[in-house]
Symmetry: C2
Subunit: 154 residues, 2 copies
């Protein structure tokens, strides 16, 4: 995703750091297990603790100097302050939306997620890339029109 | 592998191109199916045709300009002429050796592969990185000593 969508990053974005962040964040999620985006606050807090423990474990497997480079990338991804981290997080959030659209609803339908909740998450995509944010809004519109996503809670 | 082992690449190696090559070659292998390294010549020729067809299909999914960037990376990986491609191919070949050592024999044992055949493949690793080549020779030595790998055909 990072390479073909590079034109949607802000000018000057260091794409090799974005690639590193998306790879490194997956290592942590493989170890800690991923969490459904719309989990409740308590689950999210448990997940944050599990991911931090996983990061502590994984990056400490490397010699200190190398471990700290990768740990720094993961911290940067998590903090979402740099343009690179914002773009990486936007990609990470856009990806399941594209999958759900392609799958005719996917996890949105299984968990009864409605368009208003998806749109609340689009803000993070917009923050990383205005044009990908616009694309994400369009994905929601198409999913609602196709009946894959309910517009609002019944 | 690419990042923590970067110090074993020749000075001046462009690591973001190496990362791109290892990612892109996996896309093609996912599509075409991977082949066991010690398959016979006929299987290898069939595999080459299948991978080229997969590459033609996958990279053509992108707009022409983007597709040609990724296709070029894949062609570079396949041709194994540039220092980046040689290093990427060395990583790709080292990885199953580390897995087989960790697994107590793995695919070497299942297919009755002997150390002489593994050592013939170490040359490609050496060509990409002399120090990783030395490490690979050591992996073979340890695997033989541990009884995970037969030294020569019975």
């Amino acid at each position: 995703m990072c390479w073909p969508l590079a034109e949607h990053a802000r000018p000057g974005t260091d794409l090799s750091r974005v690639t590193g962040m998306v790879l490194v964040h997956d290592l942590v999620e493989i170890d800690a297990g991923d969490l459904f985006l719309y989990a409740d606050r308590e689950q999210q807090e448990r997940q944050e603790i599990a991911e931090r423990a996983a990061a502590d474990r994984i990056f400490a497997l490397l010699p200190a100097e190398q471990g700290s480079v990768l740990r720094h990338l993961w911290d940067e991804f998590t903090a979402r302050q740099s343009p690179e981290a914002k773009f990486a997080r936007a990609l990470d959030r856009l990806q399941p939306m594209l999958e759900n659209l392609a799958a005719g609803g996917g996890s949105w339908q299984r968990h009864g997620i409605t368009a208003d909740r998806v749109l609340a998450n689009v803000r993070l995509i917009e923050d990383g890339s205005p044009s990908l944010g616009a694309l994400a809004r369009n994905v929601v519109k198409r999913a609602v029109a196709a009946g894959f996503l309910a517009p609002a809670p019944a």
